[in-house]
Amino acid sequence: MMTKQVNPIQQPQKSVDSGKLWTALIIVLIYAGVFIAEQTIPATSMLFTVLKKGATYALVAVSMNLLNGFTGLFSLGQAGFMLIGAYTYGVLTIPVAQRASVYQYYNGGIVQFAMPIIPALILAGVFAAIFAFLVGLPVLRLKSDYLAIATLGFAEIIRSIFQWDKLGSLTNGSNMLRLFPTFNDFNIKNANGEVTLYLSTLVPFVIAGVCIALIVALIHSSYGRAFMSIRDDETAAEAMGINLARHKQYAFCISSFFAGIGGAMLAMYSNSVQAKSFTSAMTYEILLIVVIGGIGSVTGSCLSSFLFVACSEWWLRFMDQEQYIGTWKMPLLRNGFRLVVFSVIIMIVVLFFRQGIMGKRELPDLFRRKPKAAKGEMK
């Protein structure tokens, strides 16, 4: 889909696009697969950890891609906006009865109500977008690297503000927010507390899926085309009558909105929120996911999120412990080796596979006959 705007040469549109059909089928299969897996495989399996975290990261990566890949704004403020989303969600949803225990040093805090999950999720996005709007006013005038470093700086400032003791009755100072509803609360239980229907993995897939669908729809709207023209050539875009400042601001706020929701999902995944974990290292991690997937491909960002999470949490875990094949002790394996291998893989991708997994292609493109010109561009 994407390539249509990028490549001037494209295939004539058929009345029924086989690529779209296949894509729809694959997406339905994925959701069905998740649902079935959840009912059949024991809930303690690492698979579900990977799926939940992967869905969360997919949303965050796609939101970053919207900014960095589709609009060409190199922002490194993702962690800051995720933090706002996570805190908004946490502060608004902790049950009133639990507040005294969470806000133990602040007499239960000043917020004395709890919201349902979905409105809180949306508010998480809204607050992140409002902050983004305020941050965007000054920084969006800056160019490339300067924008990157300014947004990185803002993320650090946001982190400090949330840790400030004087705001403790709202943010719980630098301490953890916890005991709010998490993904596991979506499981349907019977009177004995036994789970009758597992939904704790399907729900994050649905939330992330809806958000990503919205982003894809946006990319295909006139706004999306405006964003991409800004990326390709700012001067030309301006000459075509696109209001640069306004469209950059739109992209920045929308991306932050979804980053905020992603942050809230991360909070639900990890059962607790703490400002100190939203460091610039988290932003770098998401940026690497976007790069591995392919800058400018939504499909790529989703795929690489799951791969990245699966490798770091699951498949490469064995490298952190001594392993024996028979009696032969495998060399080098000890705590931290997994991360070394992992960073080497990332460096190889960055240096030799600059297009990432998908380049600029999307899922439906895989089922279409490749136009020759596009193939040449992949090199």
Partner: protein, 307 residues
């Protein structure tokens, strides 16, 4: 009043000098390649780790210090050759991402080698000793740092202004393509830039870790970011700018840490406000203000984008 402020000023000047030595590496690389070398802070950290391991082998100090500096410079050179040179024609964002990747790799390698535990920096005699200045006790390194920094900067400026390689550097940073056409060996100029930058980061790391005596894989991240901010603050590409910026940031950061007690003593506030929380954030606030008010920094030249 002065006796309250003085200790903070002293540590500010000291840490400022250390930031300055790192900031020069950022500013020189940016001047030539237009690249924020995110890995530079980690090179600084690796220099610290090298010192820990080499000195534990029992070699005398007059061998270890030069050895550490040479190895650090070599690492800087290798990083450029392996991770940045292949991407010379790629978009700028790719190189920056590669820099982030290198930073990630260096941190994880050190995590693996050290087991993720704090390493204790060896005590270097003389500069680790205590000394009293105007009634404030501090370490010798606090006094040595600004002096050494200034000496190194003057040498560097002389090198850039009065030697052939310096001239080449200036030419490359002015106009990359043209200087290539004029027969300047661009790769060796870039390599030398990285070698000098890493060497200075190595010196900075010896001074910094002699003062704050433990090294862990994340030790380089914050000093690196702050040094970069200092470079932007002073006007990226300008060496004197980076040094001035670094001192300003070092001093401000430490004054913020003492601001509560200074205000309390001066009778302006009646209780502690927890302002130390903002000691890191303040650096970034300063950066954003300067970027908005004077995007080229204090000493930066006005450049126009060519369409």
């Amino acid at each position: 009043m002065l006796s309250t402020v003085l200790p903070y000023l002293l540590s500010g000047i000291s840490v400022g000098g250390q930031y300055a030595l790192i900031a020069i590496g950022y500013t020189m690389v940016y001047g030539i390649l237009r690249l924020i070398n995110f890995a530079h802070g980690d090179v600084f950290m690796v220099a610290g780790i090298l010192m820990v391991y080499i000195s534990s082998s029992g070699l005398p100090l007059y061998v270890t210090i030069p050895l550490v500096l040479v190895l650090t410079a070599l690492i800087g050179f290798l990083i450029e050759r392996m991770a940045y040179k292949p991407l010379r024609t790629a978009p700028r964002m790719s190189i920056m991402i590669s820099a982030i990747g290198v930073s990630y790799t260096l941190q994880n390698l050190v995590l693996y080698i050290t087991g993720g535990l704090n390493q204790f920096y060896p005590v270097i005699p003389f500069i680790s000793e205590s000394v009293t200045i105007f009634g404030a006790t501090t370490r010798m390194v606090t006094v040595i740092t600004p002096v050494l920094t200034l000496v190194l900067v003057i040498l560097l400026v002389l090198l850039i202004n009065h030697t052939k390689i310096g001239m080449a550097m200036r030419a490359v940073s002015k106009d990359f393509e043209t200087s290539q056409l004029m027969g300047i060996k661009i790769n060796s100029v870039i390599s030398i830039t990285f070698v000098i930058g890493s060497f200075l980061a190595g010196v900075g790391s010896i001074l910094y870790f002699s003062n704050y005596t433990t090294v862990i894989q994340t030790s380089g991240a914050m000093p690196g970011l702050k040094a970069f901010v200092a470079a932007v603050f002073g006007g990226i590409g300008s060496i004197p700018g980076a040094v001035v910026g670094a001192f300003i940031i070092g001093i401000c950061e430490n004054l913020i840490k003492g601001l509560d007690i200074i205000l309390l003593k001066a009778g302006i506030t009646t209780q502690m406000l927890g302002l130390t929380t903002f000691s890191d954030a303040f650096t970034f606030a300063l950066l954003i203000v300067i970027l908005i008010v004077k995007p080229t920094g204090l000493f930066g030249e006005k450049t126009t984008d060519k369409v």
